[in-house]
């Protein structure tokens, strides 16, 4: 399971600045289990944002947002609402945000930070990868993760090594992540996002926090190790 926690409302509102019409996307997988993006949290978010004067054009809670084909299929039913929206707020892990971004030509904002669960993985079927960094940057990068799409995990723009949109390393098979981000932001008319100078990342947020290590799953793992091997 992929662990996520909701970003503070102030941060979410800041990312929605200048945008009025918002479409909400939730996930019935891990995010529902974490109480960060299930139907209940989506409706709660709807109320909160409406309280802040935003218009919620609609919402969709999809079984597994990491399943890009499913996301595309399910959002098709909301095409009109989405086209009339300024952006989408996606309440799930970094993979779900990227999968949504990959199938919808609208700005997608992450509503959650994905927290490292100590190596456990959810299921994913596409190119989208999440490093569970605990400090989601997808809002700045057009819904493409710079930590996983860029070979060097650069967060402030491309290095000088890319050629024809390909990475300096294994360029025959590897896209330059920042070329993808640039093209995406240009398409969304959001290159202003790329001009923001990002401070060094806080990598301590990648470590599983104490409250996670106190869950029954962690306790079980420890227990197993304590049983002597025969």
């Amino acid at each position: 399971m992929i662990i996520s926690e909701q970003k503070p409302l102030t941060e979410i509102l800041k990312s929605l600045e200048g945008e009025q019409r918002i479409f909400l996307v939730g996930c019935k997988g891990c995010a529902e289990a974490c109480h960060t993006g299930g139907e209940a949290q989506v409706l709660e978010m709807k109320n909160q944002l409406e309280g802040e004067g935003k218009t919620i054009t609609g919402y969709s809670v999809i079984d597994f947002l990491c399943d890009k084909a499913l996301v595309k299929f399910r959002l098709k039913a909301h095409e009109g609402d989405i086209i009339s929206s300024d952006s989408l707020l996606v309440m799930t892990c970094g993979i779900g945000v990227q999968a949504t971004s990959a199938v919808v030509d609208r700005v997608t904002h992450p509503a959650c930070n994905t927290i490292n669960a100590g190596g456990s993985r959810g299921e994913w079927r596409g190119d989208e990868r999440c490093l569970e960094c605990g400090e989601c940057l997808l809002d700045y990068t057009g819904g493409i993760c710079p930590l996983t799409a860029c070979t060097k995990s650069l967060i402030n723009g491309p290095c000088g090594g890319a050629m024809n949109g390909k990475c300096e390393f294994e360029g025959d098979t590897r896209d330059c992540g920042w070329h993808l981000i640039y093209e995406r932001l240009k398409k969304l008319d959001h290159l202003d996002r790329m001009r923001i100078v990002l401070q060094p990342k806080d990598f301590s947020k990648m470590r599983p926090p104490a409250h996670l290590r106190n869950t029954i799953m962690w306790a079980l793992e420890r227990k197993e190790k304590e049983v002597p091997a025969k």
Binding site: T151, K152, L154, N156, P158, G160, E168, M194, P200
Partner: protein, 288 residues
Amino acid sequence: MNIAERAKSGKFVITAEVGPPKGVDIGEMLKDADLMNGRVDAINVTDQQSSVMRLGSLATCHLLKERGIEPVFQVTCRDRNRIALQSDLLSAYVLGVENVLCLTGDFVALGDHPQAKGVFDLDSVSLLLTAKELENGRDLSGKELQGSPRFCLGAVVTPGADPLEPQIIKMEKKVKAGAQFFQTQAVYEPEKFAEFMKAVEYLNVPVMVGIVLLRSAGMARFMNKNVAGVHVPESLIEEMDKAENRAQKSVEIAARLIQEMKSLCQGVHIMAIGWEKRVPEVLDAAGL
């Protein structure tokens, strides 16, 4: 006078570079540096260039400083986390090394230790922010320093990148983060460089055009195929191909490029890559 001060005073700034050896035989490198001394304002020292393990940049900068040569300490984010980078910046300052060129660094797997773990804890932009923070008397975690350093911070840009816009956006971020001068990737097309300089005029920061000495037509073709943002026009390749004396031709082309671009920018950065001995000839031919 550091590089930014020189540029500000209206002087055309000239820098070259040396690459530390793989090993401890420093005689050749120091001889090269001595040969260029007096003709250039400063000499860059590369930091494990192309991700190949070598003698360190900081130690070499110190050696140059001892010989009365103004060094430019190249620092990449590839091999050190923020603790080591900050420490090395402080070390540079106490050794009298003021000019620091902040780079991302090539990917680890491109060098001679592909097994190594790449670091990239910081990037070129946040490395500049970090150096500024140290100048302000604090480290990255906000702790107060006992005495703060002063640097002349530089960065790099690739004028021939395609597309160019992301490069310029990043250059803008580097200026915002504290870059006081720029040295560029090799340029062989003065017209394109003129367009680039026009596009970055709003940044109001000194730019030193990068010149890499062509050693052969083969090298030019290799760079066109493998080095991002570098394009040697067919006419220059042909000139090299036909030249009877390649070294002489190389010097002639470099000097011509400098003359053509001198009025467009604030300085020149000559990367001789093994032909350091010819740098004075290039400067003579360029009238510098």
